[in-house]
Amino acid sequence: MTEILPPLLPLLVGIPLLMGAVGAAVRKNKRLRHVISLGTLTALFAFSVLLVIATHDGTVLAHKVGFWDFAPQIAIPFVVDALNSLVLMIICILGITSVMFAMATHEARARFFHPFVLILMAGVAGALMTGDIFNLFVFIEVMLLPSYGLLAMMGAKLGAHGARIYVSVNLLASTLLLIGIGLVYATAGTVNLAELHGAAVEDPAVAVGGGVVLTAISIKAAVVPVHGWLTRTYPMTSPAVTALFSGIHTKVSIYAIYRIYSILFDGDEKFLWVALLVTSLTMLVGVLGAIGEKTTRSILVFHMISQIGYILIGVGLFTGLGLTAGIFYLLHHMIVKASLFLSTGAIEETYGTGEIDRLGGMAKREPLIAIIFMIAALSLAGLPPFSGFVAKFSIIMATLEQAHYWVAAVAVLVSVFTLLSMLKIWVGVFMGKPPADLEENALTYQERMHGKRYLRVQAQAENPTLTIGPPTATMSAVLSGERAVKIPAKLIIPGAILAGITVFFGFGAELLMMLSETAAENLLNPQEYVEAVMGS
């Protein structure tokens, strides 16, 4: 199997790109676009599962896209090991569930929604697999361009500010990344990661260039001093797009930080204190920022920043246990965060608001969503038996092992705050009495967003001579009080799938832990990565 797979790696980028183009060419047939998109994502998922199986014993698969065997440094390498195949697998799951959610909210009916998602996935696969920091820059751009489209498209109802900030910050970070790559090339003479192995340890000039690269990627990962853009842009688009982005952009950047620090800096212990300081700040500032927020999604986005701090502790420790825990945390976090965005998003898409003050009593009205939210929230806070407990416990054990007691203290303190924040959402949204105008708000929102006929019915009531199309049966039933607004099952299922996965990884943590350990081994000993790219 290890012989057949490497030449197929470029397909992970090529097929979604091609299918994105096909999807964009389909003009009228919405159903065909849905089928193309879900089919491609499922195929990608199947391929990534195959890659996880092939790399679970620490094998590194490498392919030279340029077929230049005599000069492997410039042959455009694609490399897959346990770490990036795992991340790719989880991202495919998130892609499928977010697209299902977007289909349920009818966002996916827009002609360019599916093509954008597919091109985004092509960029993600490329950014994860590439073994070349310039190609990393190119693939991050391929990933970002459709994201700009998605953000502007779905955020147009909320104004363009979110999209403006997002594009500006990302372009600035990309320019900085380009400068960093230029500096690395000027000092080391190559941009091939395998050839750069340990270059930053030998030559401080390369370390400066590598530092600029890592700074630029940290902006994209929303690490604390440069996190402000995330909280101002992610809540400005639709819940489906927020869930999709939450698992993709910052996480690909975190993967890049892990990879570059492992190879370029060879896990150099000189700079680890910087990472530990920054991660502790990230954890604290993220969780404290969430206190002042009033909508479910902005609270969750602030928590995302705090969780990014936890994930990066793995790099800050750079021990076997630390990296294993960090990678496990990364995978767990992607699933749980998307599940939270989708379950609160289902409420937002049905009742028209994510403001805690305008919601209430959801536990009685929507018991299923309440259960899903509870599972994911407890997992995020790190309570057993969910995957969050295993993740947090192993991270804290890893910090104690290295005697970084203050980092462990911050991690414990922040998880208490996380639990409090989740309780704030729980009490505000799910407990208490529902506000009197809940149903009317829900119908008004649906008219605004999806063109439902509620407002036309109202106009008819005010002006009986005006003839407007007949109200749908559901609409009049709700208006007369016979039926209550309910979250449809198709909005519940995506979040439920992800919540199920976190329960699965809570009880069956050993499986994911074993895979994370292999990935950590690969990061600790990059020789195999180097040999796979440079040799043969």
Binding site: L145, A152, L178, Y185
Partner: protein, 173 residues
């Protein structure tokens, strides 16, 4: 040396422009910043060697390093496309290119019901189009392919809204 000074000047000008409030100025700042990055990449290939970097056209000792030139080419294309997108963002959805945030924060669509919304304005344009069609203006009919892309390509539409272009318009006829 001249390249170093040029990079410094371009970066300083870019940072100055980033501090402005108008979106167009910020975009201009980004153009300058990407020029600075490109010059730096170019300098990474050692500008002392200026030969044509094709095999067989010049000595290996004199030929330029082709890799940074390829990098710069790629970076120019990417920066150009994003710049175009930013210019578009500067003129769409709001009246001007001011980046100052107004009071409506995310997910507060319902707090300002008097603001004109996407659904409302869409119905308006549809009805005017239908009137134009009824009065004989064939070109104004919403189904005529004036543009390659329609508004519905970029916004999610429900079938409920899409099916009768306007029921009341039909009854008037």
């Amino acid at each position: 040396m001249s390249i170093a000074i040029a990079v410094g000047l371009l970066t300083a000008a870019a940072v100055y422009l980033f501090m402005q409030r108008g979106m167009i100025r910020i975009v201009l700042g980004f153009i300058l910043a990407s020029h600075a990055a490109n010059l730096l990449l170019f300098a990474a290939g050692n500008t002392a060697f200026r030969g044509v970097p094709y095999i067989g056209t010049s000595d290996y000792g004199e030929g330029a390093d082709p890799l940074p030139q390829a990098f710069v080419l790629t970076a120019i294309v990417i920066a150009f496309s994003i710049t175009m997108f930013m210019v578009t963002l500067a003129i769409t959805t709001t009246g001007d290119d001011d980046t100052e945030n107004d009071e409506d924060s995310p997910a507060k669509v319902l707090t300002a019901p008097d603001k004109d919304d996407a659904a409302g304005s869409k119905v308006d344009t549809d009805s005017t189009g239908a009137v134009g069609a009824a009065t004989g203006g064939a070109d104004a009919s919403p189904s005529s392919p004036v543009h390659d892309f329609e508004a519905s390509d970029f916004t999610a539409q429900d079938d409920d809204a899409a099916e009768p272009p306007n029921a009341d318009e039909g009854s008037d006829r």
